[in-house]
Symmetry: C2
Subunit: 304 residues, 2 copies
């Protein structure tokens, strides 16, 4: 096994987040921020994203602290960073987007630096499917292992592009609700089977605080969420979960069933850190030893 | 280890159930029916409940087929059996009770036949806490292992009696929502800790289609639901889950952490059968070999 690099493509944002209990403003957000930091615990990580001239220097330093390769991070000196403001409902049952300023993200065209085109493990965050396909086009001739995420807006608005993307990837990571929306299935097992017929040979369905389920050609695997005591903010949990998967697969340079089970367990441990603070604070400072300890606790928690 | 008997106290009912996809009327229902059949797969099972003169003979035969001891089943020749009619919401997100006819259940006083008073493993279904306490009184001097369930009505209406009951039992099995309602906690780990302070040294929190979590003095254990493909009706799933636990503990005559983990896994397998049909049909006909197979599948499904 030769450890490989992971490449993350997605949004880097400035967030304002309100939960039923607290709020925090102008914090580092965006799927790619969470995913890249998560992946960096396992493999050398490359990032393709865009920010504006206002992007705070401490947030750049935060990404650099994780030795994330920022050659693919475009900085638009004329624009402002993507801004998202959201508010979670009581009991965290859903959330409302209060404000979106796309800013530099509006004209984002994810162009891979030449040196990135041989990255063998790639995560496409939940950007527009047309942009996801544009990234895949750039691997022409190469066949990296590709993980992709999406969200309900693209299911409603750009379904043909989304379906084209699904035919071109290896691993689809999706929320339970969105898996039902996309397939029309009534339950998760049927949804996963239909998703695999649409293209990806591996599917992971995330159930938030209820864990996740892996569907691989060699079998199924289910894991509960790590039992967090201080739940602060779920933002980025799914992104760091997916980032940990691609990072772990890169570190092992394989995607067989036993390796994917371990990847999903590490992802469960990593995302449990994300929800323990606003932004990437806990995720970034927890350290690999804490992740390994939670991985072992998950083993103990589930064995009978 | 000497296998022991299990005793189930609760309701036997005639149900009418409507789901978003189908409905079924005048079917065998009631927590004690589901629990007793589930327990009977593991241990000799005794039943204390009440029915009316109208109770269909085939339903009696169904219970007898499982060799359930019916010496404690009161038959009131002047009354009618407890009747419940309910309708599940879309996606099975909650249900409405459309009609309740308490009938003979209104004057039910669970009196244990003398021969039942030495039963070492007892399940108190979600009947009124005053009746649950009345049953416990009848063990005077003896200390069986007691599992109890409850539901939101009793949390709202008879909380002091419920709290008295909780101080007298060993294992409390409760739904996630009800655990939060009863404790005021925001999440399951905190709820379980507070419930254990209220009395029972062991707590199991059920999360429906998302599995369950065991909190034991020696540790925590989490298990996903068995991935059912043909989900028909959730009625009785929690009751058969609890019945399987008390039956398994009786069969092993112990309640240590490893044994409870296995009991919870068997309960997960058993309740997955219950949801695959209306009433006890699938639960009753599946057979022990099917339960054992699902138990092993759950082991494979969760190991990494």
């Amino acid at each position: 096994m030769t450890p490989q690099s992971a490449l993350i493509i997605g949004s880097v944002a400035i967030d304002r987040v309100a939960t039923p209990f607290a709020q925090s403003d102008r914090i580092l957000g965006g799927a790619a921020s969470y995913a890249a930091i998560a992946a960096s615990y396992f493999a050398p990580t490359r990032l393709v994203a865009i920010v504006g001239a206002d992007f705070p220097a401490p947030y750049l330093r935060r990404l650099k602290k994780h030795r994330i390769d920022l050659a693919g991070l475009q900085v638009d000196p004329a624009g402002k960073t993507f801004y998202w403001s959201g508010k979670y409902h009581e009991h965290f049952a859903g959330r409302d987007t209060l404000e979106i300023q796309l800013n530099v993200f509006e004209k984002f065209s994810p162009t891979l630096p030449a040196a990135y085109r041989d990255t063998p493990y790639v995560m496409l965050g939940a950007i527009q499917p047309a942009l996801q396909n544009h990234v895949i086009d750039q691997f022409a001739g190469r066949h990296p292992f590709i993980l992709a995420d999406t969200f309900d807006l693209w299911i409603h608005q750009t379904r043909p592009e989304l379906e084209r993307m699904l035919r071109r990837i290896d691993l689809f990571v999706i929320n339970e609700d969105e898996s039902l929306l996309l397939t029309g299935a009534r339950d998760l097992v049927v949804a996963a089977r239909q998703l695999r017929k649409m293209g990806p040979r591996i599917v992971v369905i995330k159930k938030g605080g209820h864990g996740s389920v892996l569907f691989h050609p060699d079998g199924m695997f289910a894991i509960p969420a790590y039992p967090v005591e201080k739940f602060i903010d779920p933002t980025g949990a799914g992104d760091s979960y997916a980032g940990a998967i691609i990072g772990y697969l890169a570190s092992r340079n394989r995607a067989d069933f036993p390796t994917l089970k371990k990847a999903v367990a590490y992802a469960t441990a990593v995302s449990s850190l994300t929800v323990e603070s606003f932004s990437v604070n806990r995720l970034s400072t927890a350290g690999r030893a804490t992740i390994d300890r939670r991985y072992r606790q998950l083993q103990a928690l589930t064995r009978f």
